[in-house]
Symmetry: C2
Subunit: 420 residues, 2 copies
């Protein structure tokens, strides 16, 4: 069953807020056999909301809306939905009690705007939002379903998990079984990999699809199956995946779903190792990536963000003489940061970064985007110098990804680097 997601809010269009809701919703829908096939973002404008809802209702059997349900004047989703479904509002004692309860728990004072959130459209089923004041509303028209949820991420996630997905599954059963499997490949450019796999790709059954997702230092290959029957989806996936892995032998870093940081976690757990980080230009991003994974406390002891050279010296033990002679953005410093992290944080392996993220601080010799990256495992240390871009955010993202790829490669291939 196809799903069209609509996210509402001027702050999304002008880029004040990044829309992470719809990516999360897409993941959850896929897991349950629904397909997010289309997504629209519109502002807090009744005409645009109506147009988006109308187009979506014509296109997909299920329409999920988020945003525009707050108590303030700029939130007009409820009004637009009343217009679309040709209905009015009525007071819901149930919603009112829910709001009163939430206000009571948090010790905040109730007011008329909050009370107004208990006015709900006549044409819908109201779903209780246990974690926020705006109710979730479920509309039906000609066999199609539209569900409107708050845009606050934790409220939407709670409602999707506990109410909306279970109800959708109950209503629609499951007509498509979807499987995605990802394989992490190193040592190819995207086009060279596509050539190596062209015969494989041609021979895929019609309900399967291969996608190339380039990352810093590696490529994620995503194999997808969309079948009417669970066994067919599983069987075809297993067969094609085995074929793919035979073709790519020696180039596979990991053969699982998920993110680079999850792969690192698995590689560490399977070897019973723990890691740490020593970050300069990535400023904590690598530690944040690693610790975004549930259970990472089993293999991550900690990290040091050493922006100041004094911190590199005192906490990571980089000699002042080395910093003076080579500068912070250099091979000796980044390698000593990695080794220093192992000592200071009591771990088995570590990554380190030192570079010029920009926009300022570049020189002719070391322009913005120059980053030294190291990975260390006990006494082994490998490092490389990279030249990314002129953009701070890009440099931080690519340096972080490359550092994690380097460590994954070091763990997966043991001493390969050292033999070079």
């Amino acid at each position: 069953m196809d799903v069209h997601i609509i996210t509402i809010g001027d702050e999304l269009l002008i880029g004040q807020v990044v829309d992470t809701n719809s990516a999360w919703m897409g993941q959850q829908l896929e897991n349950e056999g629904f397909r997010a096939t289309w997504r629209t973002t519109v502002g807090d404008t009744e005409r645009d909301i109506l147009e988006a809802v109308d187009a979506a209702m014509q296109r997909a059997g299920i329409v999920l809306l988020t945003g525009g349900l707050g108590p303030t004047k700029d939130d007009i989703t409820r009004k637009a939905l009343c217009r679309y479904f040709g209905c009015g509002l009525h007071f819901s004692q149930e919603v009112y009690d829910n709001i009163t309860g939430l206000f009571h728990t948090s010790g905040r004072a109730m007011n008329h705007l909050t009370r107004d959130q208990a006015m709900v459209p006549d044409a819908c089923t109201v779903i209780r939002n246990r974690v926020g004041t705006a109710p979730c509303t479920w509309f039906e028209r000609e066999g199609n379903v539209l569900v409107s949820m708050p845009g606050v991420p934790h409220e939407m996630k709670w409602l999707m998990t506990h109410e909306v997905l279970p109800r959708l599954k109950k209503r629609y059963g499951q007509d498509t079984y979807i499987r995605h499997r990802t394989t992490w490949v190193s040592g190819y450019t995207e086009s060279a990999l596509a050539i190596a796999l062209s015969a494989f790709e041609e021979a895929l059954p019609p309900f399967m699809k291969l996608a190339y997702l380039p990352e810093p230092g590696l490529i994620r290959l995503r194999l997808s199956a969309y079948a009417g029957d669970e066994r067919q989806a599983e069987k075809a996936m297993d067969e094609q995946r085995e074929k793919l892995h035979r073709l790519l032998e020696g180039h596979i870093l990991a053969g699982e779903e998920g993110t680079l940081e999850e792969r690192i976690g698995e590689a560490l757990l399977s070897r019973n190792l723990c890691m740490g980080t020593a970050e300069s230009c990535t400023g904590g991003r690598i530690a944040a990536m690693i610790t975004s994974v549930p259970g990472s406390s089993r293999y991550f002891t900690g990290g040091i963000v050493s922006y100041d050279n004094e911190v590199k010296h005192r906490l990571l033990g980089v000699p002042e003489e080395t910093l003076r002679r080579y500068g912070a953005v250099s091979k000796p410093v980044v390698e000593q940061m990695a080794s220093g992290a192992i000592r200071a944080l009591g771990c088995d392996c570590a990554v380190a970064t030192s570079g010029i993220a920009g926009p300022d601080g570049g020189t002719a010799e070391k322009p913005v985007g120059t980053v030294w990256i190291a990975a260390a495992w006990k006494e082994k240390v490998v490092s490389g110098c990279y030249h990314f871009s002129a953009l701070r955010e890009t440099n931080i993202t690519r340096a972080s990804g490359t550092a994690l790829s380097m460590l994954l490669d070091l763990l997966a291939n043991d001493c390969r680097y050292l033999e070079k």
Copy 2:
């Protein structure tokens, strides 16, 4: 001039990748007086791309497309555009030379798929992509413009900055002057703030708009003006903003555009202070937020991610006895982490977090979502215990935001906390 953004890729719909491109594009467009009014995301499916392009070309004067330009089979944007504009492909020597140059620089080998990227649609103007192999293409039909760019963020950003925005400005001049100003407000719920500002909001001129963006621990108020004339936009903004700030006296944390981390930077620079972080459950996120700001090395000395209690003890100086007696998620530990960060990192102030991000690790007494947060400035330390949610990502995000709000409040209001 209205702009419709279309992002293309199955990985966006199924949530394997979060679409950060369109938020960035929205920001840049607004800065130059264009308005991003609509955004669509579709998969790598010709029918959907054509439908999205057709709807967008009817709606907006400018359509910006990203994605689906890679050398592999799943990338079909170019084909869809040829179909839409009714044209074929031809070989471009210029594009070919660009690709050859890029491959030469990076020492990679050319192949026929990469060569194929030099085939460009007949109906477009080709814009050189100096940072990648897929060219940018510019189409016109009945006075409307469509520009297709690669989806790789650093390539899209380079093209927008150096080519697309300058060309759009040259072609359209500027018909709308847009100003956004944000005010950071503490001490109100969203609805209480809306009530306090209802008369102000009613009296706004018709070309101005007020929006409420709730954040952990505070609310961002965004005042926007869309005027046909620069002076009118500036003047109205200045007047209304002054009025707004008078109404909110004593509740304003910062009165500027941007993010919480930028406001922290300004507060520190204006007082000539520097800061550090000691993070447990936020795992480096706070340091990453702070260092995402250009120039943050002037006020951020460093951070310690102390996942392991041993790291809390050795690097931050939290006594083992305190950890044993109160547990890591406690007031004494988080306060000592903050003070310890000031000593270890040689800074004037610091924030600290210690909590149970989940999904595991919760107990009856300290369930998942319990987070202790502290902010310290020299000898002053303030702290609080928060109960966020059952979701790891939400807990990390809200704890990080709350920690920064706490520090901003401490810096803005000096001793207010201590008097309580």
